[in-house]
Symmetry: C2
Subunit: 281 residues, 2 copies
């Protein structure tokens, strides 16, 4: 993953944060990405806390998934905040849990643009749909995971979704779950995958200071989602973990009062899709 | 309040947001303050919801303060985010509640600098102490309210306080509470009060891009406090209220990975006080 990012953005500066249960790689000040991170966490044979039992969601209470049970888990997650307002932010993760004889997977990949390019959304979603068809549970699994992604990345106080979605899954114990999760990780930054071709096209475009300003305002929504609603953030925050949890925050962010765009503008076009998600593939 | 701000910063642009229960005045792009707001809310003879009964804290369950009771309330709150990293952010509010025959007050005034000037902290706190001595419950009330302020503006995940404190009070039903609260509001932006003399001294100082960068990082902590911990924010957020609640967010904010300053720097000096509050008056 770091090799692919370095190839695409050799100017980026990397830091490494090793901790008891894993390692985080942090990218800053690249030409393409202003900030990004990739984090691996491994938990082996630990005791499930109450908060963690809640956080792993739908399985709580079934299959012996109760506070006090022993469990193992692994997660890889990443975020890339682009410098240009015309290059979208990418977020993705894959999670694996094992409690007793039961194991299951979670994960996702989703796109948060500041400006809407229909071509980009169609490309991103159709690649994910193809992945579901070739390595996952078919077109039906794409539809389910697309809807779950729209539902998860939702800011109730703004009545808007965070981005144009992608896929999101949880509690997946299907026989194809491990292979699909690995394929998703591999595709995420593949030069011919869902994201990188978009970066290659949009990174070269010139943008205006007003477009940059709009990007910073949209990043404010990204922070609102992470701090107000994200399941992973609120429960994991300790002085020991805070830097690697909040490293997903955008590098520079703005809050303007009533940044609602005028009708008919490119900014308003984005807002319409964030309010009412579209089918892209 | 707006008149005093306009006198100190005539370049600022004002907007007005009227709503069912009050009005918010928003200041943007001033020379002294990059963003600020003052908000008045009036609630007359309404039914206390569960969330609101919890939010009004210590009184819940006593004096007939239970969900379903009828209540009235008034609040004035304000935030000023300075442009210069050498001018501190000011936040303040006064709140009044009435349930049946019982009424009480809450409020506070606190300072969030990016750089520590001992003189400023001593001036700010000694003015507040004088106010407690002349219009409040004496030096003892200053000590209690200073400790309550330090306790409230605390980020557990960062193990740091948000700023250098001030005073904070809740559930205050003392005979002097109404007069003290009005005096606090009046002092907040008095040219000879706790805050404005600091602004007058610091606004003229030149600052470096690195100092500005540090200010933006500190503002990230301000956002973390508001979105993760502030009692008023999490419960009040609806699509109707979100703009005037989150208008307290700083205009421009940064998250750098591990922005911890080097020992011996001015930035490290601030962090030491945020970790271990000092007595200033």
């Amino acid at each position: 993953m770091a090799a692919r990012l370095t190839a695409a953005d050799p100017a980026a500066r990397w830091s490494r944060d090793e901790h008891e249960r894993g390692v985080a790689l942090v990218l800053e000040d690249g030409d393409v990405w202003e900030k990004g991170c990739a984090s691996v966490t491994l938990i082996e044979d630990s005791v499930l806390s109450n908060a963690r039992a809640d956080a792993i969601s739908g399985r709580t209470g079934i299959d012996g998934v109760v506070a006090g049970a022993r469990y193992s888990a692994a997660a890889l997650s990443f975020v890339l905040h682009a410098r240009s307002p015309l290059v979208p932010t990418l977020r993705g993760d894959v999670r694996w849990f094992k409690v007793g004889a039961h194991e299951w997977y979670g994960g996702g990949l989703d796109l948060t643009p500041s400006y809407l390019f229909d071509d980009d959304c169609e490309h991103f979603h159709s690649r994910l749909r193809q992945l579901c068809e070739s390595r996952g549970g078919g077109a039906e699994s794409y539809r389910t995971m697309k809807a779950a992604c729209d539902a998860y990345f939702w800011l109730p106080a703004r009545a808007e979704h965070r981005g144009v979605g992608g896929i999101f899954y949880d509690d997946l114990a299907a026989p194809w779950a491990p292979d699909f999760s690995l394929a998703l990780l591999d595709a995420a930054l593949d030069p011919a995958g869902p994201y990188m071709p978009i970066v290659e096209i949009r990174r070269a475009l010139a943008y205006t200071p007003a477009q940059r300003e709009w990007q910073l305002t949209r990043r404010g929504r990204y922070v609102e989602f992470n701090l107000l609603y994200d399941r992973g953030v609120r429960f994991g925050l300790t002085p020991e973990s805070v830097e690697r949890v909040l490293v997903s925050s955008p590098p520079l962010t703005a809050w303007r009062f009533r940044a609602e765009p005028l009708p008919g503008t490119a900014e308003a076009e984005l807002m319409a899709v964030l309010r009412t998600p579209r089918e892209w593939a």
